[in-house]
Structure formats: structure tokens, C-alpha cells
């Protein structure tokens, strides 16, 4: 911190804005086409709660879906490779999202669009 600045005991952060519209939508579109049940997800997190992989790491399918919808795809590829494809998430999802195919389609889209 700048030493000359007066310390008021708090910091005012500058305005910050994330413009999701500016992101590239290619991947989320491809995935939504390949697995339309993506649109049903309500981000409830039930999948993440039951997830086999999540017993061992902070992997979360709910987070993946959120990031995908916002087209924040930078860390997606690394994250998705943690899935064991066991299918537990599919059986518990209250919205009947075809999660396994969703995961396959996300990985495919990621590798084909940005190889």
C-alpha cells in the first residue's frame, strides 16, 4: 500500500465489472445444442454434494455448469478432467439433467474448439 496515503482503517475498492456478454459463447452454445438438458439446471448443487470425485477434491459439477453458462472457460478443461463419469450426479439431479453426456460434451467442445 502507498505509504503516503492516509490510513482511514478501510479501503475503497475501485468499481469492478465482469462483462459476461463479452465472453466467447461458442462453447456453451455447442454444449447446449449437444445436450439440451443443460438448460434445465437450477444450480442446486445436489450433483456436487453426491459426487464421487468431490469426496477427494474441490471439484464441483455445479460450478462447472455455472462457469460454462458464463463462458468462463479458462479453468474448465482442467476441472472437467477430474470427473470419474460414475453417474451418481445423474441419478440425484432433481431436474433430470443428463449430466454424464453433458460432461462428455463439454470436454469434447473444449478439445475441438481450442485444441
Amino acid at each position: 500500500m502507498d505509504k503516503k496515503a492516509v490510513n482511514f482503517g478501510y479501503i475503497v475498492t475501485r468499481d469492478r465489472q465482469i462483462d459476461f456478454d463479452a465472453n466467447d459463447h461458442t462453447i456453451s452454445r455447442i454444449v447446449a445444442n449437444a445436450e439440451p438438458s443443460l438448460n434445465l439446471c437450477i444450480s442446486c448443487g445436489t450433483c456436487s454434494a453426491t459426487c464421487s470425485a468431490a469426496q477427494f477434491t474441490d471439484f464441483s459439477l455445479r460450478k462447472i455448469i455455472l462457469l460454462l453458462r458464463r463462458d468462463e472457460i479458462k479453468s474448465l478443461e482442467k476441472e472437467i478432467s477430474k470427473c470419474m463419469l460414475c453417474g451418481k450426479c445423474q441419478l440425484v439431479c432433481p431436474r433430470n439433467v443428463s449430466t454424464r453426456n453433458l460432461i462428455i460434451q463439454i470436454s469434447k467442445a473444449l478439445t475441438t474448439v481450442h485444441p
Binding site: 464421487s52 477427494f56 471439484f59 478432467s81 477430474k82 470427473c83 470419474m84 463419469l85 451418481k88 441419478l91
Partner: protein, 609 residues
């Protein structure tokens, strides 16, 4: 006279066919792994060959498995195969005898009646039954033609043949089929016309010939008819290698390789190429596929195999299969449709990377137990099953450990079925080392999916793998568990991976019979239906799954059971929400039956006090 121009279409067609087959066969041999090639070579000179010949006779000629499905269908296939085969054998014998033992050009026996008109004057007839060959050859021709009539009927009356739906053929197949169908009527006409002129035929051709001679100028028609016959044969031979009839020469190779102990290996590979071409597109696998119920007919085994053969597998269609194994069970040729599907998915999904480096370092302390229990991912989704198993272990006094108590590493089979073999192997390695560290003698699992992969893909140094239903059966047999009748009626649902997948049908029933009255249903054991929850299917929507589930439930609940019992946590989880009848795992019911005595005793004591 031993040659005429009209034999050329046949002769050229035959040479062409032989050349193509030689090229194809050598390519397959070249593609084979060296050890497999040695195996196949050795099998040529062992008793295996006899076994193969027997199987070729039973399946390729008699079509035994087709008969088992439907007598009419079996007869139709047999009349073509066996009838034609015998025509060739008898024709060769006949011509050899007539020509005084000389080896004849290949077309000679086929067109014998063109070259030799009046057999009655031949010296050979004195030594055998007069007219024996003429009679037999006509009978055989009639036999083949009866199959042809059935084949025509099958077009519109497929239900008689046990087929609700028949294969939709492409244009190449239709060409080959038309020429095949015309071969025998043409032969009949050619031989009849000739017999009409010379009276040198048997009961069929002579009678027809005399009749034709009355109304037609047979002396002008005979020669063109021979041309037509020869041409049809030629067209059939030329189209054969690219049509479904390629199965005729290929199935024999398949049977031989299978008996030589060569495993359906990787796709694409030599063995899979042969398997793909052994499919006659008989369509037997179409009706059994439950995907029909939701209109997903594009990826039925027959079409899937054709797409592989045409080298245009459709990725999304390929994903549409529950890997339930019903088609494999029904297939008269025994083509490993599931192995091929997984192989093709491996090609489709090659691009997917998997990284499980987050898994905790393998450092569990060595244990010393008799039994290691693995609930599996699905087992954890059905805590009641897990609890029941732990109760059973305690009651039987088993020295056990619960391997995945704090979360399972998936067994790898779901990844394998999705065509991600390398990723699956990583999980296999993780679990193998965990399991081995327990030093157990028996690995018990609650999930048939895990059971199958533990059995097939894990190298556990002789540790015995048991599905919990089998383990429970053993405990009861060893008198370590006492079961009490529950006085209820049950129906047992065979999980695909446990039944068709692993051949376990009897032990669960054996256990159930001791605690309940087990009612049978129309489709059970090897013909059992899939619950629709399959982990092998990648593309189907939840709505479609529910249709398949509900139809299966209708069949299973037909006898009005008190409880529908299964032995697969995924089946239980799938059936549960759609079933009016309570669905329980066999372990839950067994645990209840064990405890049955206690509440009864308690209430008794209460009354006494």
C-alpha cells in the same frame, strides 16, 4: 461338349469372388497380432478344427440358433444354406461319376443338365439306384425353392417368423438379394425347359418341362434361360463381398478363430473386421432392443454393425445403447456387439483427457481381513443396501473391512463403457492397490457394474470376487446366516451386468426362495429387461429412460409381487421412483429376514409380561 459361352458370367463372377476373398483374408491375417496368428495356425492342426467344423455345420448350415428363436425362420435360413450346400456337393458327385472320375471345370456340375441330357443311358446308372441323382437334385432344388417362398412371405408376414421389425436394407444389399432370389427360379426354368426337350430331369423338372413344352417353344427358351441362370450367379458373386452375404464365407472364419481361442480384441482390428462381416443382418437383434420403445432405432446392433462396415459410424447414434446385452444374447452368430460398441466409442472419445492426480496418495496401512467390502458409487447412493450388507457381515461374524467407507473411487467401468479406456485404467490402478493392501481373500461388492469390471479387468492376484448376492448365498449354505421366511411374494429382476453380463442367475433366486415365494415373469434370466437406468447409455433423455423403465416395470409387476427385488443399486434407484410396488435390494430383504425373529420374540415377551 464341356464348354459353352453362357457359363462365362458365372465363371468370371466366381473367379472374381475367389480373388477378392483371397485378398481380404490375407489382409486380415496380416492385420492379426503375431501371437493370435500363431494360435490360429496351431488350431488348424488340432482337435479344435473338428470342433469348428461341427459348429459350422450346426450354425452356418443347419442354423440351429435360428431354429431356437423361430422354427419358420430357422427353416428358411436352413433351406437356403443347407439346400444350396447339398446341391453343390451332390452336383459335384454326380458330375464326377458321369465324367468317369475326371476333375471337371467348376462350372460343369452347376450346369450339368445343359451338358448331359439323357442320363438314363449312362453306364453308371446300372450300379446305383436308377434315377437317384435326378431325383435327389430335384428334391434339393425344391427344398431351396421352399425357403425362397418363405423368404417372400417374410417380406409381408414377418410376425410368422418371430420378427416384429425386419432390417431395412440398403441398395447394395437389395441388388445382391434380388440376384440371389432369382438364381433358383432361373435354375428351375433352365432345367425344366431342357428336360422338356430331352426328358432328362427328375420328378420336378420333367413334369414341369413336359408342361412347358405343351404351351411354350421350349427349344428356343432353354438356352436363354441358362444364360439368365449363369448371369444371376455371376451378379450374386460379384456383389457378395460388399453385401451382407459376405457373412457366408466370413462366419466360417469367425467360428474357426473363436474356437482357436482368439479373443474379441481391440477395435479396429482383424477380429472385429471379421465379426463385422459375419453379420447377415438377419434382424433378430432388432425386436429385443428396448431402445425401440422410445424410437431410438438408428443404433440397433444390426445398424451399428453396418455403420462400422460402411466405415461411417455415427458418434451420437453410437452413444445410444444401454449396453444391456440383449442383442448379444439373441444374436445367432454370437457377434460381440458390446465389445464392438465400446471399441467404436473408444475411437469417438479419444480426445477426452482425464486426470485423477487429486486422489490421496496410496498409503493406507496394510490390513489383514478375510473379506473386503466395496459398496461402489451406486452402493453409496443406496445407503440402505450398504447398511444391510454391514449388518449381514456382523451377523455372520465376518472379519471384514469396508474399503470405500469414506467415498468410492469409481471402479472404472462407467468410463470404460463410455469409451474412455485409458482414464478407466487409471482408476483401475488406484483401486487395485487399495484392494490388495487389505490382504483379503474375498472381495465383495454390491454393484454388478463394479463386479463385472473387478472380474474382467482387475488383476487381484487370485483374490476371489463375489457379488453380494453370491456371497450371501454362500453364507446361508455355510450356515453362517439363518434366514426366516417373510411370507411374501417376490419377483426377482436380473440386473444386466449380473445376469447376461456375468452369468449369475441362480444364486440370488436360491436365496430369495428361502425367504419368499418367487414368482416368474415372461422375460427373465438371459431374456431379462434392462431397467433403463443403464450407465452404458450416454445420450438418452430422462423422459426416454422413464418409458423404458415403466415398460420393464409392467412386465416385472405382472404377477403382483409384494416386493420387487433386484441385486443392483442402480436398478433399485432407477425403478424406485416409477414403481408402485416397493423395490428392495436382495441384501435389504435378507437383513430383514435375519432380524425377523427379534421383533416376533419381543412382542411375545411383552405379552408374557
Amino acid at each position: 461338349m464341356t464348354f459353352d459361352l453362357f457359363v462365362l458370367p458365372f465363371f468370371i463372377g466366381l473367379l472374381f469372388l475367389v480373388a477378392v476373398l483371397v485378398i481380404k483374408y490375407s489382409r486380415w491375417i496380416a492385420l492379426m497380432d503375431a501371437p493370435d496368428r500363431v494360435k490360429a495356425g496351431m488350431a488348424l492342426f488340432s482337435v479344435n478344427l473338428l470342433k469348428s467344423l461341427r459348429e459350422v455345420f450346426l450354425e452356418s448350415l443347419l442354423h440351429r440358433k435360428m431354429f431356437k428363436r423361430n422354427a419358420l425362420l430357422g427353416y428358411m435360413h436352413m433351406s437356403f444354406a443347407l439346400g444350396w450346400f447339398l446341391l453343390i456337393v451332390m452336383g459335384n458327385l454326380e458330375s464326377r461319376i458321369y465324367s468317369g472320375g475326371h476333375i471337371n471345370p467348376p462350372y460343369y456340375p452347376i450346369f450339368l443338365k445343359f451338358f448331359i441330357h439323357d442320363k438314363r443311358v449312362l453306364p453308371f446308372e446300372i450300379f446305383t439306384l436308377p434315377g437317384f441323382f435326378r431325383f435327389t437334385m430335384d428334391l434339393l432344388l425344391l427344398y431351396v425353392l421352399s425357403g425362397l417362398v418363405l423368404a417372400l412371405f417374410k417380406r409381408t408376414r414377418s410376425k410368422w417368423f418371430g420378427l416384429k421389425r425386419t432390417t431395412k436394407h440398403n441398395s447394395f444389399d437389395r441388388w445382391a438379394l434380388t440376384s440371389l432370389w432369382l438364381i433358383f427360379p432361373m435354375r428351375l426354368l433352365a432345367e425344366s425347359f431342357t428336360a422338356g426337350i430331352y426328358q432328362g430331369g427328375g420328378f420336378l423338372t420333367n413334369t414341369l418341362g413336359s408342361f412347358f413344352a405343351l404351351i411354350l417353344p421350349v427349344q428356343y427358351l432353354a438356352y436363354p434361360a441358362w444364360w439368365a441362370y449363369s448371369t444371376m450367379l455371376g451378379v450374386f458373386f460379384v456383389t457378395l463381398p460388399w453385401s451382407r452375404f459376405m457373412h457366408i464365407p466370413t462366419e466360417i472364419v469367425l467360428i474357426f478363430l473363436r474356437n482357436a481361442g482368439i479373443e474379441p480384441g481391440k477395435y479396429p482390428g482383424s477380429f472385429s473386421e471379421i465379426e463385422i462381416r459375419s453379420c447377415p443382418r438377419c434382424g433378430v437383434c432388432i425386436d429385443v432392443c428396448q431402445m425401440n420403445q422410445v424410437g431410438l432405432t438408428g443404433s440397433t446392433a444390426v445398424y451399428f454393425i453396418r455403420s462400422l462396415r460402411d466405415k461411417q459410424p455415427d458418434i451420437s447414434l453410437n452413444a445410444n445403447c444401454m449396453m444391456c446385452g440383449r442383442c448379444l444374447e439373441a444374436c445367432p452368430v454370437g457377434i460381440d456387439t458390446l465389445g464392438l460398441r465400446v471399441g467404436a466409442r473408444n475411437v469417438d472419445n479419444k480426445i477426452l483427457a482425464s486426470d485423477f492426480s487429486y486422489l490421496p496418495a496410496r498409503q493406507e496401512t496394510e490390513k489383514n481381513v478375510d473379506v473386503v467390502y466395496f459398496a461402489g458409487c451406486m452402493g453409496h447412493l443406496t445407503p440402505a443396501v450398504k447398511r444391510a450388507m454391514l449388518q449381514i457381515f456382523e451377523a455372520a461374524g465376518i472379519n471384514y473391512t469396508f474399503l470405500d467407507e469414506d467415498g468410492s473411487i469409481c471402479c472404472g467401468r462407467p468410463l470404460k463403457l463410455a469409451g474412455m479406456k485409458d482414464a478407466a485404467l487409471k482408476l483401475v490402478a488406484e483401486n487395485t492397490s487399495k484392494i490388495k493392501r487389505t490382504n483379503a481373500k474375498i472381495l465383495v461388492t454390491s454393484c454388478p457394474i463394479c463386479y463385472k469390471v473387478f472380474n474382467n479387468d482387475y488383476k487381484l492376484d487370485g483374490m476371489q470376487v463375489m457379488h453380494h448376492s453370491v456371497f450371501i448365498d454362500k453364507l446361508v449354505e455355510d450356515k453362517k446366516l439363518t434366514l426366516n421366511p417373510l411370507g411374501i411374494k417376490t419377483v426377482y429382476h436380473d440386473p444386466c451386468e449380473l445376469g447376461r453380463g456375468s452369468g449369475i442367475y441362480e444364486q440370488p433366486r436360491h436365496v430369495l426362495k428361502q425367504i419368499s415365494e418367487v414368482a416368474g415373469v415372461t422375460e427373465e434370466r438371459a431374456n431379462a429387461l434392462c431397467c433403463g437406468g443403464s450407465i452404458g447409455e450416454l445420450n438418452m433423455s430422462a423422459t426416454q429412460r422413464n418409458v423404458i423403465r415403466d415398460n420393464a416395470l409392467n412386465v416385472l409387476c405382472e404377477p403382483n409381487p409384494d416386493i420387487l427385488v433386484t441385486a443392483c443399486p442402480l436398478c433399485k434407484k432407477t425403478f424406485g421412483p416409477g414403481s408402485g410396488t416397493p423395490v428392495l435390494d436382495i441384501a435389504e430383504l435378507v437383513a430383514e429376514s435375519m432380524n425377523q425373529e427379534k421383533p416376533a420374540l419381543k412382542s411375545k415377551t411383552i405379552v408374557e409380561v
